[in-house]
Symmetry: C2
């Protein structure tokens, strides 16, 4: 059975398509009797109004676009979860695109979504993004935009982030307070703001506690992989045999480092403490269980979607839009890969 059209309803009842259409929209110039007949038949045949035609009339697609660097990533998956849960509440559908950390793809995807006339766009920037022209096009196009997690401070729009610098400060301070004196940092790539902020938090915590910052204790994980954690764990012991703590950019890198130490008979945390970042579901099940920083992914998605819907509504009512900068709190989770502080 194909989808029922207005014309079929009209033909069955022997009235015009216009009358059927007006009846379904409850126009005054159609009799109550006709309206009743049309509604009953529409229900019986399971008539569904053509969403595209409706959207065209309302200039509204009830669809929002989401561009995210990587879906198969625990934190982003939680954010998507939050976005979709909240979109459902507000009656929006979500089109998801994955930039794969590629700036070119991201630019193309922005065009696709504008072309599709989505009502608003949510974005977390790729690590490669170095020009903001495409993103500014969203704004000049009048489409509401909210950036989250991986943002650029140079774009004038609402943003939802965590305070990476503060979170990294707390993680590093936790190691210091538990007795670590020589703390390495397995950091992320050089470009992304989050990676920079975590590094700055690490550095500031050292300085505030009168520990001299030593750049040779900082190792760059360009792919943010467990293999890099594994390899740098071996490297840092060669470079600095007296290292006694490591703050890792994510739990995955930390798990890789811990796996190297476990395999080589180096005791965590007795000889070396490790703290990660992100609180992956399996982190509590590592041996020893991994200390980390919990990031509220689901909440971040909900907040970002909530603000976007506010802005879409304001635009509809032609009200001025006020940009928000939301910083969500993180939580230090001290487990057994670090000593009690």
């Amino acid at each position: 059975m194909a989808q029922v059209t207005l014309k079929e309803i009209a033909d069955i009842l022997g009235i015009s398509v216009t009358t059927v259409s007006k009846a379904l929209k409850d126009y005054k110039d159609v009799s109550e009797e006709t309206k009743k007949k049309v509604r009953e038949l529409a229900k019986e045949l399971d008539y569904q109004p053509n969403a595209m035609a409706l959207s065209l009339r309302n200039q509204e697609s009830r669809t929002i676009g989401l561009i995210i660097p990587e879906i198969a990533h625990h934190f982003f998956a939680n954010i998507i979860n939050g976005i979709i849960l909240e979109a459902e509440k507000h009656g929006y559908l979500v089109i998801i695109l994955q930039s794969n950390e590629s700036f070119d793809l991201e630019t193309k995807q922005i065009d696709l979504l504008l072309n599709k006339r989505v009502d608003g766009i949510l974005m977390s920037l790729s690590n490669e993004t170095d020009s903001l022209d495409a993103i500014r096009k969203i704004i000049s196009n009048g489409t509401p935009l909210v950036l989250f997690d991986k943002i650029s401070k140079m774009v004038n729009c609402s943003k939802v982030i965590i305070d990476d610098q503060k979170a990294a400060y707390e993680a590093t301070e936790h190691l210091i307070k538990s007795g670590c004196k020589k703390i390495a940092h397995f950091r992320g790539p050089l470009n992304p703001q989050g990676s920079i902020d975590r590094f700055l938090g690490y550095k500031r915590a050292l300085e505030d506690h009168k520990i001299t910052y030593d750049p040779s204790l900082v190792y760059i994980c360009n792919r943010i992989s467990s293999q890099e954690g594994f390899d740098y764990a071996q490297q840092v012991l060669k470079d600095h045999p007296d290292v006694d703590g490591i703050f890792c950019i994510t739990d995955l890198v930390a798990a890789g480092a811990m796996s190297y130490f476990n395999k080589n008979g180096i005791f965590v945390p007795d000889q070396i403490s490790i703290i990660g970042f992100s609180n992956w579901p399996i982190s509590s099940l590592l041996t020893p269980s991994l200390s980390t920083v919990d990031q509220p992914g689901t909440r971040m998605g909900k907040e970002a979607l909530g603000i976007l819907v506010e802005e879409i509504n304001a635009k509809k009512k032609k009200e001025p839009i006020e940009y928000h900068l939301i910083q969500l709190p993180t939580k230090l989770i001290a487990r057994n890969s670090s000593k009690k502080s």
Copy 2:
């Protein structure tokens, strides 16, 4: 700057909207000179054709709908990844909805997608799904449908799955060949086909190797959580002190069980072997590293999308649609939580 319309282009050039529209579509009754002017101005003003109007004309939304039980789940995140990568290649956008394992929500989401007139639907069923009426509505509506991973054999459409029974058989057989004589199974809920098939594979492997099947060695994980793995690890030792192997429905449950044994000085695999299912990214980093079965999530997503696009194209050309049943191969990954077989 709002989006440029055909009317604005027409006004600037002092020609009719119809002429502009025809020029952009390269109609023969518009002069080359006018076409050139229109194209140049459209490019300069960054004119984007209204996708909804285009769709309405073509009866095509270039959008497909995806309903999945849970996004923040490693295996599903990989599937979504595969679907989106492949959709990108074919020029389709993907609307993602999450059923949250709720049958009611799933039914509502099917209506939403049909109402949105997506070109096709991809679905993995919720654990709760016990009536197939809503799913059959997709088919009777003439919308191409492909089920993947969590399917129902009762629906007549294309399906992409893994051979859960065979994969579970191999996992159990691996434990038997490595010397285990009393093997427990921490299984999934009673309803889903995948959970049933893994149980059947376990049972068949025992029988084929002349080990008597003992129902008291099977424990049901309704939430498929690490906590259940942890709790049942304790329970199984009480119920069967001589148990020497466990096959778990997923790595998460296995990781929970291993965490209990690690904490209580029970050596894995010397005293008890463990094998999981799914090959989570952190599973290789557990101590000991977890033996498991690798499921090709990304490939499953790509295959499902590919078949759906084939069916959408066949429908457009009014060609008959042939349903496929694709069973993707899994791979046993023997690590250190089980003995060498």
